[in-house]
């Protein structure tokens, strides 16, 4: 399997000299094309920081990240933004939408940055994605009048607009009720089934159990990894049990 991301010896320190805290302490990580990896760990273990470092949103103090073979530390702000826009997709814990745009405009926003003349084509593509997500009827709706689960699904549609090679998710179901969370997970599974790699940070074993591989973090380092193999819906409960057992074993 070809690697999309290869990170080695990542170090990230927060705080001043007096109270320095190593949030990432020599983390190495790889993500293969089309792979689905979940990153688990207690609060403050460095999960989100790892995700930001892998996506080039944050620069580690030490170590290196290669994305599709390009060293991120050597890229400028513009090139990093281009990568985020064209090769990566993001789904955040809170539905992160711009409040004065309607749902459809939010979905096509980033894609429109480079293709200003293709608003119609982009809208059609967005509507098709939203149709699959079951939210096509919300296209013209004010985001304040849409539920959190629906917004999160719209966020996934936005992440897919430029056909990314990887979608990063930072607790995408963290703020949702179980029914809405199930819908969002279903969508992510479908995205993965379409060949897009997914790197997901989560607290939730039932979410992590859908990944092919689970990385456990503790105190800024990778404590363990669990390979679960391709996800089959019937095997959900045993996989959840395996993840939970491993967490207990690690004291997470």
């Amino acid at each position: 399997m070809r690697n999309i991301i290869k990170a080695e010896g990542l170090v990230k320190t927060y705080g001043s000299d007096a109270g320095k805290r190593r949030v990432l302490d020599g983390v190495s990580f790889e993500l293969g094309a089309g792979e689905f990896v979940a990153v688990m760990g207690p609060s403050g273990s460095g999960k989100t920081t790892l995700l930001f470092a892998l996506s080039g949103m944050d620069r580690p103090d030490g170590g290196r990240v290669a994305f599709e073979g390009r060293e991120l530390s050597k890229l400028g702000e513009r090139e990093l933004a281009d990568l985020r826009r064209t090769r990566m997709g993001f789904v955040f814990q809170q539905p992160s939408m711009l409040k004065h745009l309607n749902v459809l405009d939010n979905v096509i926003l980033a894609a429109l940055r480079d293709r200003r003349s293709e608003a119609a084509e982009l809208s059609a593509k967005a509507l098709a994605l939203m149709e699959k997500a079951g939210i096509a009827d919300l296209a013209g709706r004010d985001i304040a009048k849409v539920s959190g689960g629906q917004l999160q699904r719209a966020g996934i549609c936005r992440a897919l607009m430029n056909d990314p090679v990887v979608v990063f998710g930072d607790e995408p179901t963290g703020a949702l009720n179980s029914a809405a969370a199930a819908e969002v997970l279903g969508m992510l599974e479908a995205v993965h089934a379409g060949g897009t790699a997914i790197a997901l940070v989560t607290h939730d074993a039932r979410v992590a159990a859908r990944a092919g591989r689970v990385v456990f973090m503790r105190d800024g380092a990778i404590a363990a990894e669990e390979s679960l193999g391709p996800f089959v819906r019937d095997e959900l409960e045993p996989r959840v049990a395996a993840v939970t057992a491993r967490m207990r074993e690690l004291g997470i």
Binding site: K12, Y14, T48, F52, M57, D58, R59, P60, D61, E77, R78, L80, A81, D82, L83, R84, R85, T86, M88, F90, F92, Q93, Q94, S96, M97, L98, K99, H100, L101, N102, L104, D105, I108, L109, A110, L112, R113, R116, S117, A119, L122, S123, A126, A139, D142, I143, A144, R158, A159, D170
Partner: protein, 782 residues
């Protein structure tokens, strides 16, 4: 507790707090200075007129004087307290030589005066009446100001040697707007020079009750007493004395009002952004049971502190500026009763500014009442807010505009209430830059004399104090008509007509007869008289006679009373401000003076032409009109110029500073949205472009609004200021390119640069360059 809250808040937002404070200080300083100048001015004018025992009524009279009837009238009229017919020895300016320079170019009627009466006193700069010794010459203060004379200068008047022993505070003729200037000499010197000049009588009366002036004027006119010259009265003296400094006071007050406005706007957006930031906390405070008044106190504490500090510093600054601001006034008028009131008025002005800020903040905090704790805790923002700006333009329907432009437009529309503040500030800046610039351009333009009752022309010839005025006027008319260098000309002969005022008294109407369409003055209403049945009145006469355009005035020109329709009302500051204009001839009426206007083929030759006519017709006073206007209005023009430069500088500063602070505020407020945009692939420069576009939209709106307001409101405001000194109508003219292009462009450029600077996001740059923790990432983790 409040001290700690204020301190924390100030430390967190030093720049914004400082800028707001500066505006409060500036507003307080200007309000205080304006109030103190006004108090001082009106106090001082009164004090000067009291010390000099200025006449309540003065009739200038040229020609022989029969004192008998005058003395009888003064004795018998119960209104008269004191009477004196003084001699003003009018001497050609060329015969005055001071410090080696002659006054030949002076447009003033220069003459000698002696201190013989117990009133109408000329005072020294110490405020005491002067008693010149032989050989001593006391010069008008205006010549000290213009540099034409200095203490100790050698001087000659018609060859007789003098030494400039001091300067004169003249309660009637201090102001450059007064057309005569009195030099004070000893009686011995006066008599020695008597034959050199022409005596003009200043017939002065002090009244027992100044309020009885209208009745007295009517009685004087009715008595058929000498009146060959302008009639002047105490209100006009008071006005003429107050003009230049009154104008500065008015401008200061105006600028102060604008600065208060800017300070309040500044407070407004600081407060709005702060409330936005603290929305959740305010919700928590309400939820745990704090009263709205308790919460208001916390926010009010900071502004109450700033308002008090700002007002105090502003007052202190005004106190420091008092000396230079008032020095000219002191020199001209001395300390008046208002001098003691000055500091109190200043304190009042500064306190009013502070109170306005506190009242405004208190009112703005009223929105806490409407704040729902539930919404605040759930959304951290008022529910339903997101709907704003949701309408057009839609990104999904756009064909032409890119994402950056669309996001900028939508952001601008969504937060329009906030951008409205910036628009208002830029508009205010545009206003305060454009109005004084326009005012300056207008009053320094050649046509400005028309506002003052002098037709726009190149050359003006006055025939006064002469025999056979109509004959001399005809001579001049013929000379002008035959002169190839004269393009067009008109000769007006002023004659004494009679009318009846509102009280029924018969009053003299000094009416200029001739063609008034050729060199028109500015009409506040209506236009020049054209037919034999029309008459135009000066603003003062129209008010006194109670006549408006279209009404009929009964006038007697010696051939019996007849009704004339008022064709127009114009501003006039010449000949006492009470004149009329008509187009017919009144052969039976007594001629008072004549004036000729000429437009030259080559306007640049005005000075030479004036010299030529002065030599050819020594009984006429020939003035190059540009020089006439320059000398007459130079003090006013200079103070307006200073005000224009100062307000342009202030406007640039305000616009730039506010734009900078505003964009910083907006970016702080929108940080979470910026984080989202950035995370999904917009570059830092994309975001900067979006904010720059928003700023440009606001700037464009502000500049257009400011210029429009300057055109519509500014003319009215400047007109009101100008009307206080005798002009009846006012219209901006001249200087449009600088005022309407230069000023707005300057403001737009300065603001845009400042907005770009304020709209940068330093934290993002740092994060990308150095791996520092960025606020964006924190926001995205939430």
């Amino acid at each position: 507790m409040y001290y700690r809250i204020v301190k924390d808040d100030v430390m967190k937002s030093k720049g914004v707090t400082l800028a707001t404070l500066l505006f409060i200080v500036a507003a307080a300083a200007m309000a205080a200075s304006g109030a103190s100048l006004a108090a001082q001015l009106f106090g001082a004018v009164d004090a000067l007129m009291e010390a000099a025992r200025t006449p309540h009524f003065m009739q200038m009279h040229a020609g022989p004087l029969d004192r008998g009837p005058l003395e009888r009238f003064a004795r018998e009229n119960p209104l008269v307290e004191d009477y004196f017919a003084g001699e003003f020895l009018n001497i050609n300016g060329a015969r005055f030589v001071i410090g080696g320079e002659s006054l030949a170019g002076s447009v003033q009627d220069n003459g000698l005066w002696t201190q013989r009466a117990g009133f109408d006193l000329l005072l020294g700069l110490d405020g005491e009446p002067l008693r010149p010794a032989p050989g001593e010459l006391y010069a008008p203060l205006a010549y000290l100001r213009s540099g034409a004379a200095a203490l100790g200068d050698e001087a000659t008047v018609a060859g007789r040697r003098f030494k400039v022993a001091g300067f004169v505070r003249d309660s009637q003729m201090n102001s450059p707007q007064a057309s005569s200037k009195r030099f004070l000499v000893s009686e011995e010197d006066f008599e020695a020079l008597r034959e050199v000049g022409a005596v003009e009588y200043l017939i002065s009366f002090r009244l027992k009750d100044p309020a009885a002036l209208p009745a007295f004027e009517a009685a004087y006119a009715e008595a058929g007493l000498p009146a060959n010259g302008p009639t002047l009265s105490a209100p006009l003296f008071r006005m003429i004395n107050a003009v230049s400094d009154g104008f500065t006071a008015a401008l200061l007050m105006l600028a102060g009002a604008v600065a208060v406005g800017v300070a309040l706007l500044c407070v407004r957006f600081t407060l709005l952004a702060k409330i936005e930031e603290d929305y959740r906390e305010i919700g928590v405070m309400k939820a745990i049971g704090l009263r709205v008044s308790d919460i208001k106190k916390i926010y009010l504490a900071k502004y109450a502190f700033m308002a008090a500090l700002g007002a105090a510093v502003g007052w202190a600054a005004a106190a420091a500026l008092r000396a230079p601001l008032l020095s000219g006034l002191r020199q001209a008028m001395g300390e008046g009763a208002g001098a003691r009131l000055g500091p109190a008025f200043a304190a009042l002005g500064a306190a009013a500014v502070g109170a306005a800020v506190i009242a405004y903040v208190n009112a703005a905090l009223g929105r806490f009442k409407r704040l729902s704790p539930a919404d605040a805790l759930r959304f951290g923002a008022p529910a339903g807010r997101a709907a704003r700006g949701l309408g057009l333009p839609r990104l999904s329907r756009s064909r032409l505009l890119g994402a950056n432009v669309l996001l900028a437009v939508k952001g601008f529309l969504a937060d329009f209430k906030l951008y409205a503040v910036m628009i208002a500030v830029i508009a205010a800046a545009g206003f305060i830059a454009v109005v004084p610039a326009r005012l300056y351009a207008t009053i320094s333009s050649p046509g400005f004399s028309a506002y003052m009752g002098v037709g726009e022309c190149d050359l003006r010839l006055d025939v006064q104090q002469a025999d056979d005025i109509p004959g001399k006027a005809a001579t001049i008319a013929a000379a002008l008509a035959a002169d190839p260098s004269v393009g067009s000309s008109a000769v007006l002969v002023a004659k004494a007509l009679w009318t009846v005022d509102q009280s029924g008294a018969r009053v003299r109407l000094k009416t200029e007869l001739g063609d008034h369409a050729a060199f028109p003055v500015l009409y506040a209403a209506g236009g020049p008289p054209t037919g034999a049945d029309q008459i135009a009145l000066s603003a003062m006469n129209a008010a006194e006679l109670g006549k408006a355009v279209g009404e009929v005035l009964i006038v007697d020109d010696g051939s019996g009373p007849r009704g004339l329709t008022v064709s127009g009302v114009y501003g006039d500051l010449t000949n006492g401000g009470k004149t009329a204009k008509a187009a017919f001839d009144a052969p039976l009426a007594e001629a008072m003076w004549a004036v000729a206007y000429a437009e030259l083929v080559e306007p640049a030759g005005a000075e030479a032409a004036a010299a030529r006519y002065a030599a050819a017709y020594p009984w006429a006073k020939a003035s190059d009109i540009a020089e006439f206007v320059r000398q007459t209005f130079s003090a006013t023009i200079a103070s307006v110029r200073t005000a224009a430069y100062a307000s342009a500088a202030l406007a640039l500063l305000v616009a730039a500073l506010i734009s900078y602070l505003f964009m910083r505020m907006i970016r702080a407020k929108d940080r979470r949205e910026d984080a989202i945009r950035w995370a999904i692939g917009f570059t830092a420069s994309d975001l900067s472009i979006q904010y720059a576009l928003r700023a440009a939209l606001a700037l464009l709106g502000g500049v257009i609004l400011g210029v429009a307001a300057a055109e519509i409101l500014g003319e009215a405001i400047a007109g009101a200021a100008i009307r206080t000194f005798g002009a009846a109508a006012f219209r901006f003219q001249g200087g449009s390119a600088i005022a309407y292009l230069g000023m707005p462009l300057g403001i737009a450029a300065a603001s845009f640069a400042a907005a770009l600077f304020g709209g940068r996001d330093p934290s993002l740059r740092a994060s990308v360059a150095g791996g520092v923790e960025t606020p964006y990432l924190e926001l995205l983790k939430e």
